[in-house]
Symmetry: D3
Subunit: 239 residues, 6 copies
C-alpha cells in the first residue's frame, strides 16, 4: 500500500479538486472525478489520503441478518478496524442509497484510528452525528436504513468502482468543496508539485482580474503572462 | 385518528431517524424510510406527529383553473384548514416537482393551527419564507410553479404512498436531519421506549470509541458490553 | 438587446420567483421555471438581468483540445468578455455535468465586468471560489472537470434551451432562493409592476394568518379581502 | 360510469393516438398522453374503452402478506372481477416496476369478462402468457415479482394519476402502437367524429406526398388543399 | 461450483420466471429478480445454469488500452474461455452501458464451449450477430462501444451484484421472456420441484378461467380448488 | 456539405456499428455512439449518409402555436423540404420525448425526396406509419404529442448535440441494429476502407470459433492469425 509523503499530502490539501482534474486531463485521464458525490460539510482543507477500499454487493435475506452483522468476521466492520491511519476508506456501494454505507459510530471509530476520511457512492446514516465527529465524509444522498437491508460487504481492499471512477488500493484520494478525485498512486507526487505552481499562478490571475484585466492573455497562460507572473512572484516572495 | 401520548412524542423527538429504521427492521419492516426526501433546514429536535394525508393526482386543464383553486371546496386548501393540531401533513404528489405541493402561506397557516410539520415527495415554493415561518418541512426538490400547473388535490386523509412508503392516516411520522420515517400507529409506543434505551447505549459507545476502544465487542452490543453499559449507566445516573 | 429599466430591475429583485411563476401562468406560460437548477448560495436579493446566452454542444477529441481552448476565438472565453454589464450569462450545457460550464476565474471576470449573474443547466468548478467572488450563480450539480472533456462552445447569444425552458437573448432572467425563472422581454415591465402589488398583499395576508385567520377568504383574494387590504395599506402607508 | 356508443368506439379504434393528441391540444389539453407506456404487442386496431381504475400504494410487510392476498376482499382481485365489460382497467402503480400490476391469470379473467384492455404505469408478469391471452396490455417495463412485494391495492374506481396523466373513472382510454391517451368522457364523441375526418384527409395527403408533392400547402391544410381534398373524396366515394 | 441435475434443469427451463419469484418470496427472498434486464430475443425455453461471474470496474486510460486487451491474461477474455459448459456467464458492469460487456465473437465462443447463456446489467455490441449465434443473452440496453472505453475486468467468479441482485458463483440463474431471476444453489432442487406443480395447477386454472370461472376460489388455491385440481389431474394423466 | 462517394457509402452500409466504434477509438474518439437511441425496426442494411441537422429548443406558449406551425417559414417544416437527397436528418431535441420530433407525413416526404434516414434524441409519432413508409428511423422513445407542445425549431444545419454526441453538418451518420454512430467527414473514407477489412477478418474468425477454436490467438488478431487469415482469404477469393 502506498505511503504518502507529508509534503505531497500538504500540497494536495492546498490544491483545488478542479485544478487536479486539469492536471489529470493533461496526462490523458478524463474520468477521475466522482460525479454526484458531495461533501456532508464544506471544509476548510481538502481530505487527502491513500485509498483503502470496501466492496459491497446487494444483500440477500438468508445471509445478511442482523445476527451475522455482529460477527467479528463481518467485512463491513473489519473495514473500519483495518483501514490504515492516514488513509481514506472508499466504498463501492454500487450506487445504492437503499441502506447505509456507514454511520456515526463507524465514523467515530475511523476518526479515532486516524483515518483521513470516508467516501461512498451510496450514503450514510446519522448525518448530524457524522458531522459532529469531524471526519471528512462524502456521499451521494442520505441513506439511514440499516446496512443489511440492501448491502453486503464482499471484499476488502480490492480494485473497485466508485461513482463511475476506478479506485485501486493506494490510489490517492482528494476531496473538497467540489467533490472527490482519484489520482493514480505513481502520479501523486508530480501532480502535487505541479498543483502548487498552478495555485500560485491562479492567485496572480485572480488579482489581475479583480483589477479589471481581461482573461485573454492571462488564462490560459501565455509566454508574456508567464514572465509577468514570475516578476509578480519574485516581488511577492522577495526572492 | 390516533392520539400520540406526549411522552411518546418526546422520546421520538429525541431519537435518531436512523435508530428508528433499525427498530423497524427488527420488526420486519424494510421500507419505512422516504428515500430522497430532505429537510429544508437542519433542526435541533425531530418533527413528530400522526399523519394527516393529502393525495394529489396530475392536473387537467379544464378542471384545474386558478378560479377553481379559489373555491372553499378545494381539497388542497381544506387540507391546510383541517389537518389537526399536532399532526404532520403528508402529501402524495406522485413524486412530481413540476408544481408546488405547498407554499409559505400554507406553511404559515399550518403553523398557526399547531401542525407539527409538512412532508411531500414533490416540493415547495417560497422556500425562504417557509424557513422563516419555522414549520418543519421536508421535500425532494424546490417546486415553485403554481399548484394547478401539475397537481390536483383528489383526496383527504386516505392511505397514500409518499416517496415509496405507505402512509396510513394516523401513522406516526418522524423527521430529522436524516430524513423521514413512518411508524405504524400501533408500534409507536414500544418503538419510542426502545429508542430511548438505544440512545443511551449509543452515548456509552460513543464515549468508549472516543477513548480509543474498537467497535468489536461494543457494537452491536454483546452480553459483556451490556453489563459494562449498565454499570456505566448506574454510575452516571447515580441509581 | 433589451435594456432593463432600473425600477423594473428593483421590483423584480424584490419579487419572489414563486410569485413570478403565478404571474406567468396568468398570462398562459406554464413552462418558465428551470426545474432542478439551484443557487450556489442563498442570497438576500434576487439576481435580475437580460439574458446573454452561450450554447454548448458535446466536445469532440480532435476539435476540443486544451490548445484550442486557449484561442481568443474560443466562444466560451468570448462569452465571458462579451456578456454585457447588467446581463445574466445563461448557458445551455445540454444538461451535462460531465464538465464545467464555468469556473472561478470566469466568475471573477464576469463580476469585474458588471454581469448580474450566471446560470447553467450543467455545473461549475471551484464552487467555493465562485461563492467568494460573490457573483450570483445557479447550477444543477458541481462539475469540476475541465470544459473540453465534455463541452464545446458552439454559439453566442442565440435562442437556447436551459433546463427545459426556452431562453431568447434579452429575456429577463430572475433567480433567487427558489431557483430561476425566465420572463419574455416584452412582459417584464408589467409583471414587475404586478409583482410589487402581490408582495404587499402577501405581507397583509401573512400578518392576518399569523394572527390566526383562516386562508379562506384571504388567499386567493376575494372582493372583501381586497377592500380590507386596501384599508390596511392606507393605514400602513398613511395615504 | 359513461357508456360508449359503438360508433364512437369504432371511430376511435380507427384513429391514430397521435391524431388524438392533436385534437386534444386543439381543445387546450397538453397532458393526455402517457409518456413511457408501451404496448406489449403491436396490434392492428386500437384498444378503446371507458376507464375503470385501480389505485395502488406501496405495500407494508404486516398488511401485505400472501395470506391477505387470497381474501375475497382484496381490492386487486376485486378489480379484475368488477371491471365492467368493454372497459379498460387503468392502474396507478405510482410508476413502480418493483412488483407486478397484474399477471396472465388476471389478464385471462379480464378477457373472459369482456374487458377492452389493461394499462399500468408499472409492469406485468408472465408477459408471454398475457400476449397469448390476447388482451391489449400496456406497461412501462416487465415486473414479474409478486404484487405484495411492493404494491397494495388501496382503492377502486377513484380518480388516479397514471404515468403523469389524470384518469377519471369513465374517461375514454385509447391505446395503440404509439401508446395510450386519455380523453375526457364528455369530449369523446366530438373527438371521435373529428378524428374520422382527419384520417381521411391524411390518406389524401399521404397519396400526394407519395406522388412527390411538398408538404407545404398540404399539411397543415390550407383552403386550397381543403377544396382539392373534397374533390378527391367525392371522386373516391362516388358521392 | 454447483453441478445442476438435469431433471432440475429441465423443470426450471419449463417454469415461468414469475412463478419462481413467488416461490422465492415464500422462502423470504424479495430481491432475486434483475429489474430492467431483458432478453435480446424471446425464446421458447428458459435459459438455466449455474452462475459463473465476471466483475467489471470502470476503466482507466493508462491501464485499459487496446494493447492490454489483447493479452491472454485479460480477465474479460479469460472469462469467455473459462466459463464452464452448462453455466451462465453473469456480468457485473456496474450498470454501465457506456461500453460493451461482450460482443458476437464472445457469444459465439461461449456457445461453442457449451455455455447456457450470458447476462449483464450493462449491454452488448453486435446485437444482430449475437441473435444469430443463438446464445441466450440478457442486457439492459445496447452498448456497442469497445469495452476498454468504460470497463475493466477486475475479477473472475467472485460474488457480484448484477442489476441490484446478489449473485454468488454457482447460484442457479434462470432467464426467459420476463427477464432473469437468481436462485440460491441450495434451494434450486426444491424450487424446481415445486415449480413443476405450480405450472400444472396454473394450466388447470387457465382452463377454468377460459371457461368463464371467477378467479375467486381458484387463485390463490383453496382446499376445494386443490381437490378439484387433483381430480382434473388424475383424469388428465389417467393415474 | 460533404458528398459521400458511393463505394464509401456501400462499405459503411455493410459495416457493423460496433466495428465502427472500434475504428473510431483507434483514432482517439471515445464518444461517437448515441447512447439510448434505437432503430424503430431492425433493417438488413445500415442507414448511411451525411448529416443535415435541425436544432430544437423548448417551445413557448406565445410563439409556438399551431397557427405559427403552418407557416412556410417554420424551420421544422423547412428541414423536411431542404434536407438534401442521400442525407440523414439528425435532430437535437434536447433529449425531450414530451413532443414529436417528426411524424409519418414528414417521414414520407423525406423518403420521397430521397433522404437516407432520420435520427432524433427525442421520439416520433405515428410509429406504425413511419415503419410502413420504410425510411430508416432512430429514436429514444415514442413521442406522439404535437411538436409545439414542447419543441420549437430554432436552427437548420448548425453543429448540434444529439444523444450526447457532437454532430457537425456533413458528418457521416451510420445507423443499424446496434444504434447510431457519427464519423467526422474527413475520416469517412479511410474508416470505410478499414471496416471492409475488419468484416472479412471477422468472418474468418467466426468460422474458426464455430469450428471450436479459442478466441486467444484469433481475436484480437496476432501476426500468426493474420497470416492464416490471408491464406484463408486467398483460398476463398481464389486470388
Amino acid at each position: 500500500m502506498s505511503a504518502l509523503r507529508s509534503d505531497t499530502r500538504q500540497k494536495l490539501a492546498a490544491a483545488s479538486v478542479s485544478t487536479l482534474t486539469n492536471l489529470m486531463l493533461k496526462r490523458g485521464f478524463r474520468n477521475a472525478y466522482m460525479h454526484g458525490v458531495v461533501p456532508l460539510t464544506a471544509t476548510a482543507a481538502n481530505m487527502v489520503g491513500p485509498a483503502y477500499t470496501l466492496r459491497f454487493i446487494p444483500s440477500r435475506e438468508d445471509i445478511d441478518t442482523m445476527a451475522g452483522y455482529a460477527s467479528e468476521q463481518n467485512l463491513h466492520r473489519r473495514a473500519i478496524e483495518e483501514c490504515p491511519s492516514g488513509h481514506v476508506l472508499v466504498i463501492d456501494a454500487g450506487g445504492s442509497t437503499r441502506a447505509a454505507s456507514a454511520g456515526d459510530m463507524m465514523a467515530a471509530r475511523l476518526k479515532a484510528r486516524g483515518a483521513a476520511g470516508i467516501v461512498t457512492d451510496g450514503g450514510y446514516r446519522d448525518i448530524a452525528d457524522i458531522e459532529a465527529v469531524g471526519l471528512p465524509a462524502f456521499q451521494r444522498q442520505n441513506a439511514p436504513p440499516a446496512t443489511p437491508i440492501a448491502l453486503h460487504a464482499a471484499d476488502l481492499n480490492v480494485a473497485i468502482g466508485c461513482a463511475g471512477v476506478a479506485v485501486y488500493p493506494g490510489d490517492i484520494v482528494v476531496g473538497g468543496r467540489d467533490g472527490v478525485i482519484v489520482l493514480p498512486a505513481n502520479l501523486a507526487v508530480e501532480i502535487a508539485e505541479e498543483a502548487a505552481g498552478v495555485a500560485a499562478y491562479e492567485e496572480f490571475v485572480a488579482e489581475k482580474i479583480h483589477a479589471g484585466r481581461s482573461m485573454f492573455g492571462l488564462f490560459p497562460a501565455t509566454d508574456d503572462s508567464r514572465r509577468e507572473y514570475e516578476a509578480w512572484l519574485r516581488a511577492k516572495t522577495g526572492r
